[in-house]
């Protein structure tokens, strides 16, 4: 029937490409079996599309003020109503997707490789290197993340870049722990010894042979952490320490709407729905990825 499918699922693939594509296809099928995972993936797709095509999707400018249309309730013209400066909230939420996506991506790009590297070095070398690095990691892990991020932002000064730095500083330790645990499981295995016997340097072993094996559990963990990162970023924005006005950051928008919450509820509530939707999307996808990539923990559904 479908020859592509047979080719993908061939038990004896003829090339490395075929084998890789086949395993991706199998994983995708496992993922698609769980409806919540599909919903999560769709939500994130919507987020990415909204961020990419914001100027075409948003009916109004996110910053354009219209003082004649202040605090209008949701209607056909303004789906989510307008705020205290007459800006269309729906358009601002759409543009806010860009900021959220940027925060999430930057935090992941900074903290995951950092944690990965620290954990891999710690697990690979062992001994005092391990004790020292894990000591630092554990101190950071034993601290409440949000409070630590708040204190860092207080010292660095408010702003979206500093918020990203602060969140990244508080997120790497969990990844270091995972990478170390993974590294320990295959540190003494034969393929590592083989590379060493062939004269591979420590640097080469860690970057070419240790790190790639840690990535799948790292991807799962990062996805699961994304909801927390979004909430922390929104919280910093809400407290006035993250993205600064007039940027349409969702947390900061809620903070502005707080003043009118009793009479004009939509100003503060609408951006909140966007936060919940995106966080839920990451939770669903993370759960599904964990079940698909790590049969040890999940699969008991």
């Amino acid at each position: 029937m479908s020859t592509t499918k047979d080719w993908l699922l061939d038990d004896s693939p003829a090339s490395r490409l075929q084998a890789n594509l086949g395993s991706s296809y199998r994983m995708l099928r496992t993922l698609m079996r769980n409806p919540l995972t599909v919903i999560g993936a769709l939500i994130l797709l919507v987020l990415i599309l909204a961020a990419a095509f914001a100027p075409w999707i948003a009916p109004y400018s996110p910053l354009g003020q219209d003082l004649g249309a202040r605090l209008l309730p949701p209607s056909a013209q303004h789906w989510m109503g307008t705020d205290e400066l007459g800006r269309d909230i729906f358009s601002r939420v759409i543009y806010g997707a860009r900021i959220t996506l940027m925060i999430v991506a930057l935090v992941a790009v900074i903290s995951a490789p950092l944690g990965l590297l620290i954990g891999a070095i710690s697990g690979y070398f062992g001994g005092w290197t391990d004790k020292a690095l894990m000591g630092v990691t554990d101190v950071f892990l034993s601290m409440p993340k949000l409070i630590l991020a708040l204190a860092f932002v207080a010292a660095l000064g408010p702003g979206i870049e500093n918020a990203i730095i602060a969140i990244a500083i508080t997120s790497w330790p969990a990844y270091a722990r995972i990478a170390r645990a993974e590294t320990l499981t295959f540190r003494n295995s034969e393929f590592i010894s083989a590379v060493r016997l062939l004269g591979g340097s420590h640097f080469r072993i860690i970057t070419r042979h240790v790190l790639p094996l840690c990535t799948s559990s790292m991807i799962v963990r990062v996805t699961l952490d994304m909801a927390g990162i979004i909430l922390t970023a929104a919280g910093l924005g809400f407290l006035g320490l993250g993205a600064q006005p007039p940027l349409p950051e969702w947390g900061a928008m809620i903070s502005r709407g707080r003043t009118f919450i009793l009479d004009q509820w939509w100003v503060a509530t609408m951006p909140g729905f966007a936060i919940i939707l995106v966080s839920l999307g990451f939770c669903f996808l993370g759960d599904g990825l964990r079940d698909a990539l790590d049969p040890k923990q999940g699969g008991k559904e």
Binding site: G135, P144, L150, A234
Partner: protein, 347 residues
């Protein structure tokens, strides 16, 4: 049959592990102080300015600079900082003009009160919900509880607080609004423990008690929802582990009632790991209270921290961070110890 020798070995082992435990805990505290020291003294370009504020006179500035010992090497500064912290000296707050330690002692009970009621709600509802979901695994009840629990990971606490205020205070009028007690009851009860519910009940002032409870219930319930989400999720997965075991099948085959299978055979073994989960979520509530307190103008440590942040009052920020961090570490360590003490396998 426990022989004397094995008992003695066991005792040495516990002393050893206790010693190691104390060392690790102390090191964690020193690490925490290193972080706050780094944040307060190393990151800011002018640490003096961040402590005295930009309205300080030149004399105040110079006095603070000498008091902070900024002319000395960094490591000596850190040693004296640790010494100060152990003596309970956290410096002066710019915004309240009082020692930060006094401020924190005054506001902390309010947070403790809210977090304690929150964890009671979280445990009281979260554990039964988790057990229920596991017992009805795969049914729509299980799905509803799972999504409900995932919402706890996706809803911003400050947003839920605002929505709660609109719905339950403004529209339904079921609960009192922001603040800790109605304004005309404020200061009527002399603080003894600092927990308003306890203090008012002790002197028998029930008007104050009910007013305080009225104000407390909504923020505590919202905090409780977040711990409920986590506790229910963990309870469900622990229970599923147990219910899949063979001894459960044996019990069912023997004809033990389903209620007994779940609560006596299934639930008993998970009580110990649940203690760790509850400890962790109690500590997390202290963190969550920062946002909730800001929304509800609750005069606790979270509100104190955010006000200090907005005033760039660095001593207060670091003091509050240190206290919340210490309590967080302490609760984690206590639940760790409890786990070891209560787990029969480690006896």
């Amino acid at each position: 049959m426990a022989t004397y020798a094995s008992g003695a070995r066991h005792l040495t082992q516990s002393v050893k592990s206790l010693g190691g435990f104390v060392v690790v805990t102390l090191l964690t505290f020193v690490g925490l102080m290193a972080i706050t020291f780094f944040i307060g003294r190393v990151i800011p370009i002018d640490p003096v300015l961040s402590v005295v504020g930009d309205r300080a006179t030149q004399e105040q500035y110079d006095a603070a600079k000498i008091a902070m010992g900024l002319d000395r090497p960094l490591i000596l500064q850190f040693v004296s900082y640790v010494g100060d912290v152990f003596q309970g000296n956290l410096g002066q707050s710019v915004s309240t003009n009082r020692p930060v330690a006094d401020d924190l002692a005054r506001v902390f009970p309010a947070t403790l009160e809210m977090a304690t009621l929150g964890i009671m709600i979280g445990v009281g509802l979260g554990v039964p919900l988790g057990v229920w979901a596991a017992a009805r695994q795969g049914t729509w009840i299980d799905q509803v509880i799972r999504v409900f629990a995932l919402l706890g990971y996706s809803v911003p606490a400050f947003w839920l607080g605002l929505v709660g205020l609109v719905v339950f205070y403004a529209n339904l009028g079921w609960v009192a609004g922001p603040g800790r007690v109605d304004i005309f009851y404020d200061g009527l009860v002399e603080p003894v423990t600092g927990l308003l519910l306890v203090d008012s009940a002790m002197v028998g002032d029930w008007d104050v008690f009910w007013s305080a409870l009225d104000h407390l219930i909504l923020p505590a319930a919202i905090l409780g929802f977040f711990s409920l989400a986590y506790i229910a999720r963990m309870t469900r997965s622990f229970m599923l582990d147990q219910l899949g075991q063979e001894y459960i099948t044996t019990a069912r085959v023997k004809g033990v009632s389903e209620w007994r299978v779940i609560w006596t055979h299934g639930f008993r073994p998970i009580r110990v790991p649940l203690i760790t989960v509850i400890g962790l979520s109690y500590a997390a509530l202290l963190e969550g209270s920062v946002m909730i307190e800001t929304v509800f103008s609750w005069p606790g440590i979270g509100n104190y921290l955010t006000v200090a942040l907005l005033n760039a009052d660095m001593n207060a920020v670091l003091g509050a961070t240190l206290v919340i961090g210490s309590v967080f570490i302490l609760i984690n360590k206590i639940s760790d110890v409890l786990y070891r003490v209560l787990d029969p396998r480690s006896r």
